[in-house]
Subunit: 109 residues, 2 copies
DNA sequence: TTCATGTGTAAGTGGAGACTGACAGGTGAA
DNA sequence: TTCACCTGTCAGTCTCCACTTACACATGAA
């Protein structure tokens, strides 16, 4: 994980509304309109937040067809576990240099 | 740590400039003007970022007198280690409810 | 056809926070 | 006195992003 990914991750989670979204999605998947109702948030706004969370790899969206034929966009939490201290931050910054030289490290996750 | 503290922490680290500040302070303490020169950042702006980092508990500032009598404001990293996953986020949110009922948990750090 | 449900996006507004420039004040050395 | 440092803060500007309103387009049921 380089500093750009780390930044995307941190700024995604570092927002009250998005913390609420994560909390609401914790028990299981929900589709957008339902989630918007529960949070008392407009749907376009929720879209923005979900998009941000998805780009950062925190949630995953998937279009599904309900029994009565309606298209529902379901979102669920993606598993993530990031440890944050001086060393992990420095590691992310050092990773940038490796990225530039084209030495893509073969690490998973 | 409740969600407010978590939010302060995440939004403090989740900024490119402040990541750079942390990187620069990692080897050891620096005073404000010196740090501003190294980062190529105006001093008032740096003050804002340092203030934000200090409120979130990431850095500590201390006014010191140099040998030649000048006052220097030194900043150094405070030790921190936060693990971030669904459980720790939910724990922070649940902590809010405890805060409201006045049950301050006697946990350290 | 109309209504209630859903997805998806475009266009605009408002405000918080990032950022700049300028100031006042202190010190020791030339 | 002047210079070269330093701290600390105020008052602006500007940019980004959070947020709203409104639209186009589907589906099944009444």
């Amino acid at each position: 994980m380089d500093s750009e990914e780390l930044l995307a991750f941190l700024s995604a989670v570092g927002h009250a509304q998005r913390i609420r979204i994560i909390t609401e999605l914790a028990p299981g998947q929900l589709y957008v309109s339902e989630l918007a109702r529960r949070l008392g948030v407009s749907r376009p706004l929720l879209y923005m937040h979900l998009e941000r969370l998805e780009k950062a790899g925190l949630v995953v969206g998937r279009l599904e067809l309900s029994d009565d034929g309606k298209a529902l966009k379901y979102f669920e939490l993606a598993p993530f576990d990031v440890r944050l201290n001086v060393d992990t931050i420095l590691a992310a910054v050092r990773q940038d240099a490796s990225d530039e030289t084209g030495q893509h490290s073969p690490e998973g996750s």
